[in-house]
Amino acid sequence: MQGKIKIKIDGQDLTVEEGFTILEASRQAGIEIPTLCFDEALEPYAACRLCVVELSTKGTKRLVASCVYPVEEGAEIRTMTDEILRHRKILVELYLSRSPNAKRMRQLAEQIGVGEPRYRFEETHNCVVCGMCVRACDEIVGASAIGFSQRGMKRKVEPPFHRGSAACISCGTCTTICPTEAITLKEIDQIKSVHVKDEGASLEPCGVCAAFELVPVSPEAYTGWLSEKLSLKPAVKSKA
């Protein structure tokens, strides 16, 4: 499977490994594509839709999510067109209207040139439902202590049935990976205090460190520790 194929990104001729996604190929070539729900440590999810690029193959042109779309021989990709920018602006405007206090959203809006959103939510929330916490809890930690509930605008992240879950090992991965500081250690602590009462519950070890009941002191301390463990760039780097 691992052959090399030729593609073109923003006019640059590139030879990349087969099986790469467009995002991987672009980043390798030093072309930055904005993302929100993507993290190298996680399976791509294609839900934030910020990373759309224009893909032309065999005479057809369409917008695809670069984080999941595999490169194809002879594909021509443009990462920034007027159309992409137009849609991206509207999308960021939507995000901003729902999460006006999220630092990451304000940064994005500034970068891309989005001003005051034309729609105002009465109830705002920092969570942008990117699902990074849910996926990290499942894929990295292996605890699956949190998930999504409800659908549409009501969709949110929480432990099953609103209750603290015995599956939570209080590792804090969710707080670290969250791009908009929507989940805090305080919340995790509250959740823990609920399931501590349940004495019969057996604690599962963390899938990364195999330690029990790791209680991070602060997100910063935890970030350093986790990045060491994973020998990856900390996910929160982009926030700085």
């Binding site: 839709r49 759309v52 999308l91 939507l94 729609y119 699902g131 659908r151 549409g152």
Partner: protein, 704 residues
């Protein structure tokens, strides 16, 4: 009892013919959901009780829906030697009358809707003359399996046919009637329009609905009697998988779920995908409000779907299939479960089907009611027991679908087409329809239309034919305003485009979609902004919330539309909606979000003036939307009322000033003030009542 050979199949066919066209009086009652909803259960019970009471020897059988749902409950009678007669809108009292007339040998003409002289056996390409029994016309190209002359029931039926002579075939209906009948009885029903002359049926071409309303859905033998499972026999014994796929490709059949992907190409992709384990899925998660094509097929002819799936499984190399049907269709589920059991007993599902060595099992999976689970990747997640959410493609289901295996997923209607296509050939099928859209399409024609029901028409028929010829025009003599196709994610097509031929490309060009086949007719009493809001409320509530454009975008569009409907729209709202709609359409992850903005886009495109009337003039041209006032507006109205009151006092007893002001505002019209014009014409004087209320409050305050 397993069917292992062609002889076994013919034996089953003869058993089916014996109940389909029995040599005694037969009474059929439409017992699909539409019939039951109109009261066919009571009618059925009355007929049973009454025939028993009278001592009439009649075979009473439930049947599916023949399509004319506006005429339900439908009762059909067949007396030996006479054509099939259909009574419409049957009440229990009428049922008593029908039973009594049957016992007396006469025919009740009151309530007669149509008569059917012949049943077309589409799979075999033959026509069966009902009035003479079962041995009817046969074409030269008839396969030998049709040779129904062997069975005992057919001999008897054939006798009257011989008497009438071959030249009568296709001639005036009265000649088909046996000699034993009194002449006067004949003339009674020849006045009733023949099936093909009823405007509702005239332009229809029933391929998918070939057995609906003809056979008893609980009888596998009656399905076989109509040529069912003979195609499967032919496929398993004579054809290679590739030949089957080539035939489907040649037919030009495209996915009837809405997207219109060529079915043969899809099958080929699944067949070519590496792997030993592959799956077949039938998508019966029909969720569009007002659309019930799939339900009717499953309730009226479940075996057509099972046979289609088995043929598809053989073609792509699958041995396991799933039918994903929504739990809100209890009757369809019941019929399917029964059909699967019967097919297993006959060895038409399971191991070593028809002794060919090919095995295929079908399982039912019930959906819990999420609209998004009609999307194929969400549907597969739901079958696997995960949350029904779509995932990005590629990989396509044909490469990696259910449990990561190559999966071929098609809609109910697509599967029901398959046996006929293989039996009659891809070329035969491709003669029907337009250049790029072949065959027929089932639509549920509902809304403000006289003849609502299920119709199957050749592709390329104009909307005008559907609405006026088949549908019989708009109800209560109303004026046609728009037709909405494709369910909540479809678009509105205005009167100016009513001559539009219906096919995938032309509907898409008009901003609508074929969708699964919902068609809602709207008259002048419908407000298009309100309608767009209605559908957006549905999609916003049904969005799974995974991707942001759909989650936030549909919500914001819905809120904006609601604001416009309430008379709180502002300049720029239309443009804002358009921009949002384009982005949601382009960026959304799955088909739900990609089509959800269609109602907004098409209403803006064709009915922009209605939006402008709501936003600028604060009025709803169709007088549907209720104006709501903000606190500031109420304060302003109060102020105005107080001012007017003061002015009145100043003028003294006579009020010429007031009258002058009135005529002034009438002359200047909208220029005067927005409020002025709104108060005069606005929806049912909402504003003036608000002003009065404000005045009253003021008066109360003054007293205090």
């Amino acid at each position: 009892m397993k069917i292992r050979s062609l002889e076994d199949l013919i034996a089953a066919k003869n058993r089916g013919l014996a109940t389909l066209y029995p040599q005694r009086t037969k009474i059929m009652v439409g017992m699909a959901s539409c019939g039951i909803a109109s009261g066919s259960r009571v009618v059925m019970k009355t007929l049973r009780d009454e025939t028993q009471k009278i001592g009439l020897d009649a075979y009473i059988s439930p049947i599916g829906c023949i399509g004319s749902c506006y005429k339900e409950p439908l009762v059909d009678i067949i007396q030996p030697g006479k054509p099939r007669l259909t009574y419409a809108n049957v009440t229990p009292d009428m049922a008593v009358g029908i039973a009594e007339s049957l016992a007396s040998g006469r025919i009740l003409t009151e309530g007669l809707f149509t008569r059917i002289e012949e049943d077309e056996n589409l799979v075999e390409g033959t026509r069966v003359r009902i009035a003479r029994g079962v041995a009817g016309l046969r074409t030269a190209s008839d396969p030998p399996v049709v040779g129904g002359g062997d069975g005992p029931s057919i001999d008897r039926g054939g006798a009257s046919a011989v008497r009438s002579g071959p030249n009568d075939v296709g001639g005036p209906s009265s000649r088909g009637v046996g000699d034993s009948l009194p002449r006067d009885a004949t003339s009674e029903y020849t006045q009733v329009p023949a099936f093909d002359d009823v405007p509702f049926f005239k332009q229809q071409k029933r391929i998918v609905l070939r057995n609906c309303g003809i056979i008893n859905p609980d009888s596998i033998d009656e399905y076989v009697a109509r040529g069912g499972y003979f195609t499967l026999h032919k496929v398993l014994k004579e054809l290679s998988p590739q030949q089957v796929i080539d035939e489907v490709k040649a037919s030009g059949l495209r996915g009837r779920g809405g997207a219109g992907f060529p079915t043969g190409v899809k099958w080929q992709l699944t067949r070519n995908s590496p792997g030993n384990v592959k799956y077949i899925i039938c998508n019966a998660d029909e969720g569009d409000p007002g659309a019930y094509m799939d339900r009717s097929v499953l309730e009226g002819d479940p075996h057509s779907v099972l046979e289609g799936m088995t043929i598809g499984a053989f073609a792509v190399g699958a041995h396991e299939g799933y039918i994903y049907v929504r739990a809100e269709y209890p009757l369809a589920i019941e019929k399917l479960q029964k059909a699967i059991k019967q097919a297993e007993e006959y060895g038409l599902l399971g191991d070593d089907i028809l002794g060919s060595g090919f095995s295929f099992v079908v399982k039912l999976s019930k959906g819990a009611g999420a609209f998004v689970c009609g999307e194929e990747t969400a549907l597969m997640a739901s079958i696997e027991g995960r949350v029904g959410e779509p995932r990005p493609r590629p990989p396509f289901p044909a490469q990696s679908g259910l449990w990561g295996k190559p999966t071929n997923i098609n809609n109910v209607e697509t599967w029901a087409n398959v046996p006929v296509i293989i039996a009659r050939g891809g070329n035969w099928y491709s003669q029907i329809g337009t250049e790029k859209s072949k065959g027929t399409k089932v639509f549920s024609l509902v809304g403000k239309v006289n003849n609502s029901g299920l119709i199957e028409v050749p592709m390329g028929i104009s909307l005008r034919d559907i609405v006026y010829s088949i549908g019989g025009g708009v109800t209560e003599g109303g004026k046609f305003k728009a037709i909405q196709t494709g369910g909540p994610s479809g678009g509105f097509i205005p009167e100016s485009l009513i001559d539009l031929p219906v096919d995938y490309e032309r509907l898409a060009a008009a901003g609508a979609i074929m969708g699964s086949g919902g068609m809602v007719v709207m008259d002048e009493k419908v407000c298009m902004v309100d309608m767009a809001r209605f559908f957006l409320t549905f999609t916003a509530a049904e969005s799974c919330g995974k991707c942001a454009p759909c989650r936030i975008g549909t919500y914001v569009m819905n809120e904006t539309l609601a604001r416009i409907c309430e008379g709180q729209g502002k300049e720029g709202d239309i443009e804002f909606l358009q921009e949002l709609a384009e982005t949601v359409k382009t960026l959304s992850l799955c088909g739900l979000g990609q089509t959800a903005p269609n109602p907004v886009l098409t209403t803006i495109r064709y009915f922009r003036h209605e939006y402008e009337a709501h936003i600028r003039d604060k009025k709803c041209p169709a007088k549907v939307c209720k104006r709501k006032f903000t606190l500031e507006e109420i304060a302003r109205l109060k102020e105005e009322a107080a001012r007017k009151k003061a002015a009145k006092k100043d003028e003294g007893k006579s009020a010429p000033g007031f009258a002058a002001e009135k005529s002034d505002s009438a002359k200047k019209g909208e220029e005067k003030t927005e409020r002025g014009s709104a108060a005069k014409k606005a929806p049912a004087g909402d504003e003036s009542t608000a002003a009065k209320k404000a005045e009253k409050k003021d008066a109360r305050k003054d007293k205090d």
